[in-house]
């Protein structure tokens, strides 16, 4: 039944999966670059923005096509609307990851301390994104709701990073610039995790048609 609509939804699922993989690849690359402070690498990752943007446009086009030709209603409609929103979230997540590569452009090395918490935070944020997409794929409410807890953990980590950097900056004013940029990086990751939570909110919207704020 409704083979065209089903086919379209499959295309959307695959595109979102691809987007997730691209965003993951970019964020991991950017974190590596932040560790190495390699500026050529940084430029490479900044240019990767196009890949995610392209995918986002493909998702949009497919959604528009499905809405125009297949008249989706009820859950079908929510799925398609949510796919558009999730793709926007993923695109923003890609931007945030690339923001970290842009930070590399500004930092005059070497780093004041080995990076531990920021990569950890990136790992956690990525796990959230993966979990969000998995929840979307399987329409798993529990998985989606669980994102709120993980977001709290990421927020906590972010606060800790800010506190640590403040301590270092107050002791060594010459790394004030670097500290500020690293704070930005932390901030980006915190926002990244928020967008991952949004994916979870969309999953809840798809299954229950209710809007729930997981970002409290």
């Amino acid at each position: 039944m409704r083979q065209s609509l089903n086919d379209g939804q499959l295309i959307l699922n695959n595109l979102l999966k691809d987007m997730g993989q691209e965003v993951e690849r970019i964020l991991q690359g950017c974190i590596k670059t932040l560790k190495s402070l390699d500026r050529t690498q940084a430029e490479y990752w900044i240019a990767q923005d196009q890949v995610v943007n392209n995918l986002e446009r493909q998702v949009d086009d497919e959604c528009v096509r499905l809405i125009a030709t297949q008249q989706p209603v009820a859950k079908d409609l929510r799925k398609i609307i949510s796919a558009m929103k999730i793709s926007t979230d993923l695109e923003r997540m890609g931007d945030l990851a690339i923001g970290i590569a842009k930070v590399v452009r500004r930092i005059e090395g070497p780093l004041c301390k080995p990076l531990i918490d920021i990569p950890l935070m990136a790992e956690k944020a990525l796990a959230m994104m993966r979990q969000g997409l998995e929840a979307y794929r399987t329409e798993d409410m529990e998985l989606a709701q669980n994102l709120a807890l993980q977001d709290d953990a990421v927020d906590h980590l972010y606060n800790q990073i800010v506190r640590d950097l403040l301590v270092i900056m107050s002791q060594k004013p010459e790394i004030l610039d670097q500290g500020m940029y690293l704070t930005f990086a932390g901030r980006y990751l915190e926002r990244f995790a928020d967008h991952a939570t949004n994916i979870g909110e969309n999953v809840i919207y798809i299954t229950t048609a209710e809007r729930k704020d997981l970002n409290k």
Binding site: M1, R2, Q3, S4, V64, R65, A68, T69, Q70, Q71
Partner: protein
């Protein structure tokens, strides 16, 4: 395999009424082409010209050229043409005096096929293609009229398929059916395009959007726009097409 159709300057009259005013259109093989447009725009007449059914009515006239894989349909005798270009009508019209089985093989039998085995094989194949076999295989001797509306329409599709045409014309085949039966027919049309070139006239533009690869918009006997369905429904080039599909017509 489906055949391509090419229509040049097709004009058709009913009495002194000019219904088609010079249609030019290329129809690709193995695709579903939907014809949409308001009542009286000539869409039904258009498909009825393709199997030369229009000319069977009194006081009608046709001018222009239609070719099937490059060969003019006017070189064929109309009865032979209709074996290549099958048609399914708006209202399911099984032959009331015949059983389900007799309906399906009517086209073959009345054209002289006598071999019982062949007829039987063809009936099963056609009914399977029309996604009706499982529902009727145990009551092939029942009257065709004993089926539900949606089943009757699929019976008519099976009957048309049995003659093994390469082009299938459908004149609002689902307009008299409920949504479930309609979905059945639509899914069927999607699967049939593997083998046939399908031209479907429909009042229902959502239906055109759902099933057609390309869509043509007719207005007052003219072809306003013809293009890929997703384009027609997301970004029509002609203002009149946009007004029609958005329901802002007239």
């Amino acid at each position: 395999m489906g055949q391509s159709l090419s229509i040049h300057n097709l004009e058709a009259w009913y009495g002194s009424n000019k219904i088609l005013k010079g249609i030019n259109m290329e129809i690709r093989p193995n695709q579903v082409t939907a014809i949409i447009g308001p009542s009286g725009c000539g869409k039904s007449t258009f498909v009825r010209c393709i199997n030369r059914m229009h000319e069977t009515l009194p006081r009608t006239r046709v001018r222009g050229e239609i070719s099937l894989d490059g060969r003019s349909i006017y070189d064929l005798n109309p009865v032979a043409l209709r074996k290549t270009v099958g048609m399914v009508f708006q209202k399911a019209n099984p032959f009331p005096s015949m059983s389900i089985y007799d309906n399906v093989v009517a086209g073959l039998r009345l054209n002289g096929m006598k071999n019982k085995q062949e007829l039987k094989a063809s009936a099963e194949k056609s009914l399977r293609m029309a996604a009706l076999w499982d529902e009727v295989k145990d009551r092939l001797n029942y009257s065709g009229m004993s089926l539900s509306g949606g089943q009757q329409q699929r019976l008519c599709i099976a009957r048309a398929l049995a003659v093994e045409p390469s082009v299938l014309l459908m004149d609002e085949p689902a307009s008299a059916l409920d949504p479930i039966a309609t979905t059945h027919i639509e899914e069927l049309i999607r699967s049939l395009k593997e083998i046939y070139t399908i031209i479907i006239v429909t009042h229902n533009m959502q239906q055109a959007a759902r099933i057609a690869d390309s869509t043509a918009f007719f207005l007052s006997g003219e072809l306003v726009e013809h293009g890929p369905t997703s384009e027609i429904f997301t970004n029509p080039h002609d203002k009149r097409t946009e007004d029609y599909i958005t329901g802002r017509f007239g």
